[in-house]
Symmetry: C2
Subunit: 217 residues, 2 copies
């Protein structure tokens, strides 16, 4: 499930600038806001090996510039410590997500870590509050079709209700799609409600097939 | 992508019987056709550990009984030798699937094998012709939502045009869905064309969301 109701009716009131590149990265670095987003993003991706990509992910910043305020949002891979930064509570805004014990969380975290680049959960942390305010995941499916091609599956995208209008959802999706592309996928897919189709169209997606589901519980 | 045009307009002219259980299994055993499918299936699943499940998969038979002819279709996990039994050619009936070298096939096969029960490709082999006539795959996604739940994703279901009407597509889907259920998934999902919705409804699925796609090549 991708794209909860939190993505609906998003009011884009401020510009979002993508800032990447190790030399300028750091939790307190907001000076990159004046850079040209397209140039930086292109540069970051064109020179990427997978290891570079991982390094970039850990250090990428999104800055939201506004005349009245400036906020910095760190985009990075999920870390075990994020459980205490509201990660589970954020997921509860998406769907049913009961409390998870530290042990169970760490167990699942380690299970996913074994997949390496084939499974990525990314988060955006609000440096002001120290809270996780956006997340999404992508896993890489390896096929035999399309010359043993790969497909990225985006799942569980959610943005905290307190930070709507900053295009964080779009940046999460773009980040996950970039990961799929850089790991060699020929396409990336997701399932969403009809209400969220316009949002994903703005992210460069097109409607294709129909999702079918069978529940066991 | 699931459910190619080969699944459309399927004419069910013969009954298909599920036969499971190690004592009765073997490539030449078609005597199980008189059993009650629901009872056998229930029995097989209720006693399953994952290892038992794997054993059952390797030995399960589907027999298609008809007054004029009797055919035996072996349902099992994909094996490396299946490349020479028309597996790639079968996938070519589904979508773009160029020829794959033996080396590339084995490499992908081994990559998938590392996932263990988290990725299953099953096939049906026609014992008469020795050809792979149906296939499908399912991979298990591990989440944090739903109490660190799991979701099965069914992909790349295709039935050879020469064996339509034997409900092999339905059996492939049921087999994959059972695998998802037995590995602890709370649901199994797939994407299909609108033409194939009735087929998947007959398999117990319901329409839910919309698939969105972004191509990189």
């Amino acid at each position: 499930m991708v794209g909860p109701q939190l993505l609906r009716n998003r009011k884009v009131s401020r510009s979002v600038t993508f800032v990447a590149g190790l030399p300028r990265c750091g939790s307190g670095d907001s000076s990159g806001g004046n850079r040209q987003p397209s140039q930086q993003k292109k540069k970051a991706i064109s020179s990427s090996s997978l290891l570079d990509l991982e390094a970039q992910k850990r250090h990428c910043l999104y800055t939201t510039a506004n005349s009245a305020e400036e906020e910095i949002f760190r985009v990075r891979k999920l870390e075990i410590a994020d459980k205490n930064k509201g990660f589970i509570e954020l997921l509860q805004q998406l769907t049913v997500c009961d409390s998870v014990s530290d042990e169970r969380f760490q167990e699942r975290f380690q299970e996913l870590a074994k997949y390496g680049d084939d499974h990525l959960v990314c988060v955006i942390e609000d440096d002001k509050s120290g809270k996780i305010v956006a997340t999404g995941s992508v896993f890489i499916e390896k096929k035999f079709i399309r010359n043993c091609g790969k497909v990225g599956h985006i799942e569980d995208v959610v943005v905290d209700s307190s930070v709507r209008g900053k295009q964080l959802g779009k940046k999460i999706v773009e980040f996950l799609a970039d990961h799929a592309r850089l790991t060699g996928c020929y396409k990336v897919i997701l399932d969403c409600s009809t209400d969220n189709i316009p949002f994903y169209e703005r992210c460069g997606f097109k409607q294709k097939e129909v999702q079918m589901v069978k529940y066991f519980i």
